[in-house]
Symmetry: C2
Subunit: 218 residues, 2 copies
């Protein structure tokens, strides 16, 4: 597949936003930044007409998103049948507390990726995908941890989804109340929503002298 | 609709987990507790064979989940066409840092609700749904905020999804490494993932004497 070197994804009828007030974002740098900040996505796929939405961890490598799971899981079965998928990543930044209930909102950044996932079967490519995947959540963890055996690699399904039909949506800034409502004696503003990592908690069998990994943002 | 007074949802072929190690949870109290702790869900629906997964806020009232949005949005159009939906809520509790990359995991609690959403059209029921919705994120905010006008109510679509075909998945506890790997000089344990609210930030037009709402968990 040729790498698309333009700085934006091309909007399609399926990735264009319907609501005029929410402009779609197709800029690759912005899309990559959202994908690289999150680590949990929700995968949508259809079985017998029924949509399923399943949470799973992911990592980006260039213009690929990798997910993985047990071969027997529903989502991993999808790739073998060449089914359409949707992968969505959402970061919540703030509650937008407007003076009116109607204008109350949430500041968020989300990315929606449409496409068909393909299974990564080559063991070395699978190993590389799992390395990206492990190090995305905890930088350098792949090098610290015990590497998977060939049997473990075979017992893991890895899917790759190409970043091709992609859009982001971003809401930022304060509440937008109706002009006359700013005179009401009601507080308006933002309440930040923050995801942090807590103090690492060794398990009962952690050996003396071993130290917890360093985490992004800590 | 008769209220189902049993303490559990009935598993179906579609809500039974495929992976033996991950037991499905159907207990209503546990499902309700997860739904009441979160406020962001991901909605899955299908248009022309393509699954879409869209983030949105929600609230539970008894055995109903409410979501809302602009009438022109894709997701709100789904209810009018009696389409199948999937609503998923995921709470992340910890990174599960195993000694082996293979057993690295995430502690999470998720709920998946399958069904057809129906549109709430009666204005008073819509108002009540929006009250639940606003107060779910910020307790008492509905009573503090300016209430929606009839025109605003008409400009908001509200969907209700019945809790009927429902399952939860929960992973808790430390990493489960292979017995021989506990002897390796590699740290193992949990890294808590915590979502908190930051200090409320009034916007430029907040009036003196108005105070920020009290938030859940702060």
């Amino acid at each position: 597949m040729m790498e698309n070197s333009t700085p934006s994804y091309s909007p399609t009828a399926r990735t264009q936003t319907r609501i005029r007030s929410m402009r779609g974002v197709y800029d690759k740098a912005q899309v990559h930044a959202i994908l690289d900040e999150g680590f949990l996505c929700h995968i949508g796929f259809v079985i017998d007409g029924q949509p399923f939405v399943i949470p799973t961890a992911y990592a980006r490598s260039g213009e690929q998103i990798y997910i993985h799971g047990a071969p027997a899981s529903r989502v991993m079965g999808v790739a073998n049948r060449d089914l359409d998928m949707c992968l969505t990543v959402t970061l919540i930044d703030a509650l937008v507390v407007a003076r009116s209930a109607f204008h109350t909102s949430i500041n968020y950044r989300s990315v929606v990726v449409l496409g068909k996932a393909r299974e990564v079967t080559d063991l070395e490519k699978k190993r590389e995908a799992l390395r990206c995947f492990t190090n995305h959540v905890i930088a350098g963890r792949w090098e610290q941890a015990k590497q998977p055996t060939e049997q473990e690699l075979k017992a893991t399904s890895v899917l790759a989804l190409q970043l091709d039909e992609v859009s982001a949506k971003v809401r930022t800034g304060p509440p937008i109340d109706d002009e006359e409502d700013y005179a009401l004696p009601i507080w308006g503003g933002l309440v930040p929503v923050i995801q942090t990592f807590g103090e690492p908690m060794p398990d009962d069998r952690a050996l003396p002298g071993t130290t917890a990994p360093h985490l992004r943002g800590t």
